[in-house]
């Protein structure tokens, strides 16, 4: 969607200097390459990957409940942290936070122990 908006803006903006013209030349021939997940009526979510910043909150192609997998997300927290599946959302249990399980062996119950 963002790319689409930028391309719409491009139609109304004119390059005035060499640098701007160079950037414009680089993007010459660029076509729309990103689509919103639900655009066109068909859900295009990849199975088993997360698109939001909630641990383990994987996408789910079903229209019915539950709308997201891994509920509560605490169920998947240590599973993801350990194997580093979603390192942006979890402590990295493979390299940097090796003793996480010593602090908290059950997230849903002991999450307050994580400092």
């Amino acid at each position: 969607m963002e790319v689409y908006i930028i391309m719409e803006k491009k139609k109304r903006i004119e390059a005035l200097n060499e640098k701007a013209r160079a950037i414009e030349a680089l993007t010459g021939g660029e076509k729309r390459s990103v689509e919103a997940l639900e655009e066109g009526g068909m859900l295009k979510m990849p199975v088993g990957c997360t698109t939001v910043f909630d641990t383990g909150w994987e996408t789910n192609p079903r229209a019915t409940n539950p709308v997201g997998n891994c509920q509560p997300s605490a169920h998947d927290y240590l599973g993801c942290a350990g194997d580093c599946w979603w390192p942006a959302q979890n402590p990295d249990g493979l390299t940097n936070y090796l003793d996480l399980e010593g602090v908290c062996s059950s997230i849903i119950r002991d999450w307050r122990d994580i400092k």
């Binding site: 240590l78 493979l94 062996s105 059950s106 849903i108």
Partner: protein
């Protein structure tokens, strides 16, 4: 008359042995948890004393004599657990010689002395990162020493060893067949999945408890299916399922006519018609590991610190066990 007496004596001895055998047989399910393994007595569905260990458990494999269970923890430790003492008696660390080696997939060889593991390895050399190609390696379980290895494509997460054919089935983006009979390991075949757009998460399969068959859910787009790798016969089968389902793991019923699969729901799948015949939403939320009792009458689902136990026939909840640890894998053995 004399033969009758001998016959009766034989029958009585057999009955006695059966009773003794039954009274001594103990069926256990292990929840590979975080800093510990929790043990469930299948006969009573009560918790037995837990086994403490370092790290977070992922995979397990039993020695052929059922004396030991080997558990991978934190993806680099391999704990040897004595199943009589119910404690860790030895630990090997695959991080050695400057290398950090991460284990994703393990299965034991029948000799009980070696295992096959899949390893991702890296190290730093003069400040530079050195990443080794992923390998399937045979290791010595006493020392952790790599005895031999073969490079495999990236993405392998599950190994199943077939002792009859001396073949390792390494499941990743495709299934790679590795012939281990000779001196050198060699890839002897590939079952394609990636080109067929099969999406697979091979983390919740338990070949030993599933009649020697690795049963792995897959999706092509949104169409689900079950991939089976029979380590007894070498047959690999794809079974598309006609109804939608999202599942992590699957296990056969003892007659292998049905499969139970789980994630947010528990599904019963009729394999002849390839349809879902029963389903229940799991009240405690998402579950990861699925395990059946040996007689197939109960289904155990693990999600967070909860084990939900179902009657396999009715899908009614028999019991909900609250554990002190989350988990990732349930493994079963009858001692």
């Amino acid at each position: 008359m004399k033969s009758k007496i001998w016959f009766l004596a034989g029958v009585m001895t057999l009955c006695l042995l059966t009773v003794i055998g039954r009274s001594e047989a103990k069926e256990l399910i292990f929840n590979l948890g975080y800093g510990k393994i929790q043990v469930i007595d299948v006969a009573t569905d009560e918790l037995l004393p837990e086994i403490t260990m370092q790290g977070w458990g992922r995979e397990a494999s039993f020695s052929a004599d059922k004396k030991f269970m080997y558990v991978t923890a934190s993806r680099h430790l391999i704990h040897k657990i004595d199943l009589q003492q119910m404690k860790v008696v030895k630990t090997i660390d695959m991080h050695s010689g400057g290398w950090q080696r991460f284990v994703f997939g393990m299965d034991l060889v029948e000799d009980g002395k070696t295992a096959y593991v899949h390893l991702f390895s890296h190290k730093t050399d003069k400040g530079e990162a050195v990443v080794a190609p992923p390998v399937v390696a045979q290791i010595d379980l006493e020392s952790g020493k790599i005895l031999r290895s073969i490079e495999v494509p990236i993405g392998v997460c599950y190994l199943a060893y077939a002792k009859n054919s001396q073949t390792i089935y390494a499941v990743g983006q495709d299934v790679y067949l590795i012939d281990v009979a000779g001196r050198e390991m060699k890839i002897s075949g590939t079952h394609p999945m990636f080109d067929k757009k099969m999406n697979i998460l091979p983390l919740f399969s338990y070949t030993a408890e599933n009649n020697g068959v690795a049963l792995l859910p897959y999706w092509i787009g949104e169409a689900p299916g079950l991939l089976s790798i029979d380590t007894n016969t070498g047959k690999i089968t794809e079974t598309p399922i006609k109804n939608p389902m999202m599942v992590y793991g699957a296990m056969y019923s003892p007659d292998m006519k049905k499969a139970y699969a789980n994630m947010d729901e528990l599904y019963v799948i009729d394999l002849a018609t390839q349809t879902i015949t029963n389903t229940e939403v799991i009240p405690s939320g998402t579950t990861f590991s699925v395990m059946t009792s040996a007689d197939g009458k109960k289904i155990y689902l693990q999600g967070g610190p909860t084990i939900t136990i179902y009657d396999a026939e009715t899908l009614k909840i028999v019991k909900e066990l609250k554990l002190s640890t989350d988990g990732m894998s349930l493994r079963r053995i009858t001692l």
